[in-house]
Subunit: 189 residues, 2 copies
DNA sequence: ATCGCTTTTTGCCAAATGGCAAATGATTTC
DNA sequence: GAAATCATTTGCCATTTGGCAAAAAGCGAT
């Protein structure tokens, strides 16, 4: 919980009373490896905050291949705003790839925070912006570089992730096959 | 100007007085092909709105290759919020690739709109969100598909752009060489 | 230690893409 | 209209990556 509050305070100020109010709405859940936090076709009804573990956001293309869009690590927000805000079915899966501890807020509680805490919407907007910008930045370089460079950058960007998840997920993030990634790894050492 | 107002109204309501006020702050500029709207290293000090033409956002990688991140067409917002909001030097170039007509707001006027029009910040937030989401969506599929598929999708997504800009820009967006793109084109027909 | 299961590595060959340079085509300028 | 300039296509060959299947390595349960 402390982590969440620290995270929130980086985006705006909250007084003790407001912090306590947030805390009353927060619930902690555990998600085991391979379980889904949410699934494509369903509407996102929670805002999550990663306390511990790694999740990934993925989808399937028209050939049935699984594509990992990005990973979400500790101390990051976990929500599909398009789905959450507009009550639209999400197009992606959010899956735990290690055991995870996650703080969640139900939509109802989230609304109540919006209505109660002055400035909550500003904080939330900043958080969303930051999350989206991160996505753009993490995704863009992948297009134009060769697979080895992409892998090296991946390791820089997710240093805490590389050794905790199966290689197949990394490959599906980098847009290459598992075999290719394996070969690349060999050449790097 | 009508285009801008219509665009704004898609994200929230403004009364006639507010619309007029926005109009007093808007200036129209012309940017010729190849001119820069903004450059890497400089701070973004304007919010732009594309009336006519196409711009692209690009940068250079460590090999000196030019990478096109995306294109911006008519009726879209044109701003690097990270740079604009935080007064940080931008990392990208925004370049006209056809002659363009662009409405701009100076930072000072933009602030005044924020302070004067109730709900302006909400509209702006929605616009930013949409723009960022578009970027993510346009960028992500590029990673995992082969060049031909990427080109076909590019044509679907930017139907009005394909025939108006040089092939080299498209290649640098798709992350392939000009030669490869030329060959791909040949095979498609 | 052994079995069964999953993950990772490897070998083989085919396909896609890159790099470079020359040829062709298109456009501008005089 | 000819020359100069720029954009695009093509040829040649090297390199990267994919697809598939088998081998090897890792891991948990017994």
């Amino acid at each position: 919980m402390k982590e969440l509050i620290e995270y929130l305070l980086r985006f705006g100020n909250l007084n003790q009373q407001q912090i306590d109010f947030v805390a009353t709405k927060a619930k902690e859940i555990v998600l085991h490896k391979d379980e889904y936090f949410s699934e494509a076709g369903k509407i996102f009804r929670h805002v999550g905050f990663m306390l511990e573990g790694i999740t990934r956001v993925c989808y399937y293309n028209n050939k049935g291949e699984e594509i990992t869009k990005y990973f979400i690590e500790e101390n990051n927000i976990l929500v599909d705003f398009e789905s959450f805000d507009n009550e639209l079915p999400s197009t992606v899966y959010v899956q735990a790839i290690t055991d995870c501890r996650i703080i969640i807020f139900s939509k109802k509680d989230w609304q109540e925070l919006l209505n109660t805490i002055v400035g909550w919407d500003a904080i939330v907007h900043k958080i969303i912006l930051k999350a989206l910008m991160q996505k753009v930045e993490r995704r863009s370089p992948l297009v134009t570089e060769d697979a080895t460079t992409r892998y090296l950058k991946f390791m820089e960007r997710y240093p805490t992730v590389v050794n905790r998840i199966p290689l197949s997920y990394i490959a599906s993030y980098l847009g290459i096959t598992q075999s290719s990634l394996s070969r690349i790894r060999k050449n790097i050492r």
